[in-house]
Amino acid sequence: MVQELGYLKETPSQTAGPYVHIGLTPNFCDINGVYEADLGTAMVNDKTLGERITVTGRVFDGAGAFVRDAVLEIWQADSAGLYNSPSEMRGTADPNFTGWGRCATRAEDGVFTFETVKPGQVPFKDGRKMAPHITVWIVARGINIGLHTRMYFPEETEANAADPLLLRIEHRERVATMIASREGSTYTFDIRLQGDGETVFLDI
């Protein structure tokens, strides 16, 4: 017999369910007075450095209907490409930027919105630069384990073409599913869970 590795198994995921808002965004679903504000609603303040942008979009199911009960979280670097995290060893991120946001899709039209800044570039493991991106995580009723994807920026043509993750996508037409569309300072990032134009999701 060899030694036991002794590792534990990860707690298995379960769906967030239709009432995820009670726990993650209680004020959004009119449970007021327990928490002052829902977590993750304010990523920026007056002093945050960088280019202000709005990230918005909807999540669609396999029948093309928008998902009314999803919660999205995003995580991104600041405008200089630094993460506001203790595991960030390259420098100190902008203290006026959390890097993390949480938003529920609206029941009436399925829209989510984040007010944030455009992230700077961060390195891949081998030192190559990744194109500016926002990491996105989606939970909802019917989703058994949270889905990870990334949003990239349409004007970053050169950086996107050299991005180590985008280069890994075998079916090249699918790269477009990770790139937002832009109008002024607003980026629209629609997510398709299934079927035509299905968004690339990550095991990462």
Binding site: L8, K9, E10, T11, P12, S13, Q14, T15, A16, G17, P18, Y19, V20, H21, I22, G23, L24, P26, C29, I31, G33, V34, Y35, D61, G62, D69, W75, A77, Y83, S85, P86, S87, M89, R90, W100, P123, K125, D126, M130, T135, W137, A140, R141, G142, I143, N144, I145, G146, H148, L165, R168, I169, R174, Q194, E198, V200, F201, L202, D203, I204
Partner: protein, 249 residues
């Protein structure tokens, strides 16, 4: 922001997720998953700095009653109706190390199985003194605890006569965005667990059993509240000892 400044931050990538242990995306017994499951394979990639890192939530953001669901929505002097329980446990990673400073959020129905949510139409009554949400941050040993009432079973429109077992939803934020996890806790001995299509999305019985909290008689508070113990395991991290890192990475 950080309460953990005396701890050396870890920068290793997370162990790959065992996706045979977790539920697959497409589980037709749970009907909503049919149209909400990706059909294409996931794109696999060893974690980058974008997933290895994550925000820190300070203990200072937690209000006094945030982990007391019996009182955090109740009118002064009143309390929620139901079986009083304490739920506690540790957040560990797969290496068995405590995850300190983890944000644990939880939500649940009231004692009658009714959620306080505008979309909810179940005829069981709302408890005017019960909101159903709480949160806490693990201490340096990875410990968390909260006080609540045991939730009731709850019928839902899936099969004609499907009922959820009594359950509490948990959302856990560890140290890296790739550790992000949402799950549900069930109660020891509940016969509804083995009838539930959502529980049944998980293929391995041992994995299901990892979601069942045992009655913790030792920590039961006499004349006050019974205790249930629920430990949560997040993904472990590789050691960076032998990783080749380029300059500036």
């Amino acid at each position: 922001m950080s309460d953990l400044t005396n701890r050396k931050p870890e920068t290793g990538a997370f162990f790959a997720r065992d996706r045979e242990w977790h539920a697959p995306a497409f589980t037709p017994g749970y009907k909503t998953s049919v149209l909400r499951s990706p059909q294409r394979a996931l794109l696999s990639l060893d974690g980058t700095i974008s997933e290895i890192t994550g925000p820190v939530f300070g203990h200072s953001m937690i209000g006094e009653l945030d982990n007391d669901l019996i009182h955090n929505f109740a009118k002064p002097g009143e309390s929620a109706i139901g079986e009083r329980i304490v739920v506690h446990g540790r957040v560990l990673d797969e290496r068995g190390r405590p995850v300190a400073g983890a944000l644990v959020e939880f939500w649940q129905a009231n004692a009658g199985g009714r959620y306080r949510h505008k979309k909810e139409t179940y005829l069981a009554a709302i408890d005017p003194n019960f909101g159903g949400c709480g949160r806490c941050i693990t201490d340096e040993h990875g410990q968390y605890a909260f006080r609540t009432v045991r939730p009731g079973a709850y019928p839902w429109p899936n099969g004609v006569n499907d009922w959820r077992p009594a359950h509490i939803h948990f959302s856990i934020f560890g140290h890296g965005f790739a550790q992000r996890l949402i799950t549900q806790m069930y109660f020891e001995g509940d016969p509804m667990i083995w009838k539930c299509p959502i529980v049944g999305t998980i293929p391995d019985k041992r994995a299901i059993e990892q979601l069942i909290a045992p009655l913790d008689w030792g920590n039961t508070i006499p004349m006050d509240a019974r205790a249930y113990k629920f430990d949560i395991v997040l993904r472990g991290r590789r050691s960076t000892m032998f990783e080749n890192r380029m300059e500036g990475n």
